[in-house]
Amino acid sequence: MNASFTITIDNQSVEATPGESLLEVCRKANIPLPVMCDFKGLSPVGACRLCLVEIEGVPKLLPACTTLVAPNQAVHTQSDKLRKYRRMIIELIFSERNHICAICVANNNCELQKMAYELGMDHVRFPYLTPVCEVDASHEKYVMDHNRCILCTRCVRVCSEIEGAMTRDVMGRGFDARIITEFKQPWGDSTGCTSCGKCVQVCPTGALTPNDAAQGRLKKNPELVALLIEKREAKP
């Protein structure tokens, strides 16, 4: 049933198994794809749209993380069109909240910042929305700064899928969407949070940080969570 087949990615033949996503196949074949919301071991959501790829015969661009492989697929991961769209997407992410690297704890240690450099973003062509966002510093160890959140929902997924506490989710829609703890309560009031800090480690920006991090001094360790996920999957 699970017979593998071959697909073409950037003109090279790659082996794929039914049920795998394009992103998983690309990872195995060492084909780089920009990702922001995806975290290996967590369920894919297709929130950031940075992993868009072109598939021959499909008129629209599809995110590699939520697109399953199919026999005879011919995929392109690099093209002028894709570069243009990815640039636009990262600029839109920046324009949505108040991302000011110079005063951020995650400066030089931020996946969003790194991604913007990689994609060659030198300015943002869209007007900033500058929403009024709260900072929740009620937790004894961590801070949630919604100004720096990109709604990738890695924290939501790691909390429900790995820790199993399910304290986080997304409320509202569009411009009003926010990550919430329990009934939109202060994080410190949460009775379900185990303070494990996995959400802080997987957060790609300075939105979730330990509260003792000084500006530009933040060190995160997402590899620790990745390793933990691997261990749990391999559980004897």
Partner: protein, 170 residues
């Protein structure tokens, strides 16, 4: 919408038990408190109370074993549910394209001015809740206004204001 965090005290169930609570408990039993019946039960809550109180969400989270954040996420995602009491009478003005072209903005402005209430809010006395909708699917009747679930076709500002005075008694 984003400002203001909820406190633990907001989650406490009021001491009074009434027919509305009975209705919810019956519904919970009927659906066997299955987590996938969350939206159905929230519908019944919204119909019974006119909104979804926080303490009710806390109760449902406990009974149905659904994470609190999930319930809050669902309630804030769908416009059908509201977090605040809606008012004794409701008035919905359609601001869809067809109604807009036919002058629904004037209807809305007149109601807002007359009753000192903004769209999406309720008058301080709790008598009238004013909402907007994007197309009710009967564009040929536009501008459409819905007062207490009754559709008023070809609404004229003066007539609608008078009708609200009459129905809501304000």
């Amino acid at each position: 919408m984003s400002s203001g965090l909820n406190r633990l005290t907001d989650l406490e169930k009021p001491a009074t038990e009434d027919a509305r609570l009975k209705r919810i408990q019956t519904a919970l039993k009927r659906y066997d408190a299955r987590p996938d019946a969350l939206i159905e039960i929230l519908h019944i809550v919204e119909e019974s109370y006119g909104y979804v109180p926080l303490w009710m969400m806390a109760l449902l989270a406990k009974e149905m074993k659904v994470p609190p954040s999930r319930i809050y996420g669902v309630v804030t995602f769908y416009h059908f549910f509201s977090l605040k009491p809606k008012g004794e009478h409701t008035c919905v003005v359609c601001t869809g394209t067809a109604c807009h072209v036919r002058g629904s903005q004037r209807v809305l402005n007149d109601i807002e001015d007359e009753f000192s209430v903004r769209a999406g809010e309720t008058t301080p006395d709790g008598k009238l809740g004013l909402q907007t909708a994007r197309c009710l699917g009967c564009c040929s009747l536009g501008p459409v206004t819905v007062i207490d679930n009754e559709i008023i076709p070809k609404s004229e500002p003066e007539k609608i204001v008078a009708l609200i005075h009459e129905k809501a008694g304000i």
